[in-house]
């Protein structure tokens, strides 16, 4: 059984807020657990926030496209943006055992994404960044 859905977000903070609602709706429709929806929300929030932080040097409106696919129990989210080439996976892994004084926040978002998702891949396709995230729903 295969389902698909697309979300197009404008690259700004307000639309990140909308993302949470859209994912709740998708979760209901596809019978995803609340936990999975929460993990997906966090993952996509981190990814989209990174795109906003690093992707653009102009004031033009940019769209981030997220294609979702559910193939039996395999959920895939493919995030595509037209920002400059940026691989979020190249970020240094944070030391999550460091003492308080040595603790840095950098890299924590991507660390969460990598831990929560089963697989994360980056590709530069033409003038687009494409991040593909997959997770088994356990259904």
């Amino acid at each position: 059984m295969r389902e698909s859905h697309v979300i197009a977000l404008r690259a700004n903070l307000a639309d990140i807020g909308r993302l949470a609602e859209d994912l709740e709706t998708l979760g209901d429709r596809w019978h995803l657990t609340a936990r999975l929806v929460s993990q997906l929300n966090l993952t996509l929030e981190e990814v989209v926030t990174n795109i906003l932080s690093y992707g653009y040097d102009d004031d033009a409106e940019h769209v981030i496209r997220i294609d979702f696919e559910l193939d039996d129990d395999l959920l895939t989210a493919r995030v595509e943006d037209d920002g400059r080439a940026y691989d979020p996976l190249q970020v240094e892994v944070p030391d999550t055992t460091a003492a308080l004084d040595d603790r840095r926040i950098g890299g924590l978002g991507i660390h969460l994404v990598r831990t929560l998702m089963d697989d994360v891949r980056y590709a530069r396709v033409g003038d687009k960044n494409v991040l593909t995230l997959t997770k088994r729903t356990g259904a």
Binding site: L13, A20, T97
Partner: protein
């Protein structure tokens, strides 16, 4: 996102309700750091009604912990929902400050 606080002898119990995400964490940061700067240095964060936290939210806790350390203060987090507890664990926050089950436990630890 809503933050309320209550003074219980030496301890301030701070309840955070709703979501700490890219849209709400700046406000949370301002309120919490203001509380610390106003002299409240023993903070019990009651997260029973915190439904969601992303890395911007985690940053707020890290900043609070650092600022409290500078003034010989302390923070304990309690009553985390399972999805939030998972995030704190992945981030390694259990080695930064105590995370306990109940508000009472948190207040006892801080008192």
């Amino acid at each position: 996102m809503e933050i309320t606080s209550e003074k219980i002898e030496q301890v301030t119990a701070v309840s955070i309700r709703g979501r700490m995400d890219a849209g709400t964490s700046k406000a949370a940061e301002e309120q919490i750091l203001a509380l610390i700067d106003s002299g409240e240095h023993r903070l019990a964060f009651d997260l029973a009604e915190l439904d969601y936290i992303s890395s911007v939210g985690l940053r707020v806790f890290m900043l609070a912990a650092k600022r409290l350390k500078n003034v010989d203060g302390m923070l304990v987090a309690c009553a985390l929902q399972p999805s939030v507890a998972e995030i704190f664990e992945i981030a390694g926050f259990d080695t930064l400050f105590a995370i306990v089950g109940s508000r009472d436990e948190a207040i006892t630890r801080l008192g």
